[in-house]
Symmetry: C2
Subunit: 275 residues, 2 copies
């Protein structure tokens, strides 16, 4: 992704867009007790590691919020280079039909400090059987600070073998059995950290995970600044969002719908692998 | 956006992607007491209006989550045609640097049942002074069922004059004064509905608003199905997300940062308008 020039950066810092702290050392006007510098000092005092590169995997059918949530949160790490990384050249369509042009392919990316693997549907399942992609993830993981997945992106990460014997979470749908296939222990949490591996539950859980990663990397104030920037004080209009909080009939129907799409595809892929 | 063929649709229905109900009339296997049809009947019984077209405005510097949140939620209305609508031809970059290719320009879109106006930074302010865009919004609004904004997208909607004398919300930053400019009464709520106008607070509030719209349009079960699909049972890792819940020093710094980008631009635009 192209580097942001200073003037663009100033606006990036504004208006629900980015809290990436400015290099500017000017005093904040009208508040002589608190200079920009001293605030930045506070924001960065718990800085744990220098994060220079953030890569978010995308592919045909990637879930729009799975990739955009963590990108929005972690893309606000000061000075980070953000990249959408895809399997092949050319534009892709998200599950909501948005046409994205990724910044690089897996052939072009050798190193990432943070790797995020989002979920989706058909494309996610295909990705979890794509040896070239799995090898790329293993390679990036060798030198990453954190390797993370969101939603069914956990199926891809688990398929690399990197989570073997570890605790993880994923989308609620058949979560335990999908992870057990790869000897991963499912934990029913919003997000799970096991060593350098972070995994989030379905879709919007990626934002909670990314904020926890941000707090871990840069401390409370930095994470709170980004939360304020994204006005993340959620107030869902109705109860729901997990099988426990959803009417059983609705959960059953959703499971049945997912089954109709997922199970035949998984069967055919397992079959072609065995063959 | 291209129409989704059946096989793609089945997968769209699966795995954290879409709960758009299927036309399939098969019984759900293993649950003879509940057919897919009867479930769909329940899901649609509170159906209020037929929503055929959803348009989400995008522009250079649009906030990634402002547009993707409502698109993800409302894009799951059964049979809806989703469009990203931009000011001009060609790809744009979101505030996080993602390259998107919109589906149509405002010159090509004459009618939308639902219009969503997301926020951003520099591009949002410029848009709120763009008479061609404001006229397009007024035109679409004449026949829309709902016209809505997210975050600073409320500044654009307010600039059309359509919210005059109405209640609305927007991003927390200088919210009251930004709306007062256009004789709009700021209400400090997560989202506000006044007649056909829906407005959301900053960024992630767009998801809460969109879910409330979905419930209004299709009822509780439908909204709960989409909430489960997006596993929207939020658990922010730390307290925050609104000025009230944020450390005063952090809020002050964010306000000062926003001021540095916003105020000079607003001044220059007001100046050029007067001139």
């Amino acid at each position: 992704m192209q580097k942001i020039v200073l003037i663009k950066m100033i606006f990036l810092l504004c208006l629900g867009c980015s809290t990436e702290p400015q290099a500017d050392t000017k005093k904040i006007s009208g508040d002589s007790s608190m200079s920009h510098d001293s605030l930045m000092q506070t924001m960065n005092q718990e800085r744990k590691a220098s994060i220079k590169t953030l890569g978010v995997l995308v592919y045909e059918g990637v879930n729009d919020l799975d990739y955009a949530g963590p990108l929005y949160v972690l893309g606000q790490l000061m000075g980070v280079e953000r990249k959408l990384v895809s399997l092949e050249q050319g534009p892709i369509r998200t599950v909501m039909g948005v046409e994205l042009t990724p910044d690089a392919t897996i052939d072009e990316v050798e190193q990432l400090d943070l790797l995020i693997i989002p979920g989706g549907a058909r494309g996610t399942i295909l990705a979890s059987y794509d040896e070239k992609l799995l090898n790329w993830i293993r390679k990036i993981d060798r030198n990453s600070l954190y390797t993370a997945s969101v939603c069914t992106g956990g199926w891809i990460l688990a398929a690399t073998g990197l989570l073997e014997g570890k605790k993880a979470t994923t989308n609620w749908y058949r979560a335990e059995e999908m992870l057990q296939k790869y000897d991963v222990q499912f934990v029913a949490e919003r997000y799970v950290r096991d060593g350098k591996y972070w995994t989030a539950a379905g879709v919007t859980a990626g934002m909670d995970m990314a904020l926890a990663m941000l707090e871990d990397l840069r401390g409370f104030d930095y994470a709170q600044a980004v939360m304020l920037d994204m006005e993340y004080d959620p107030a869902p209009p109705i109860r729901g969002g997990s099988p426990e909080k959803t009417r059983p009939g609705v959960t059953k129907m959703m499971t049945a719908m997912y089954d109709q799409g997922v199970l035949p595809l998984l069967d055919s892929l397992d079959y072609s692998r065995i063959r």
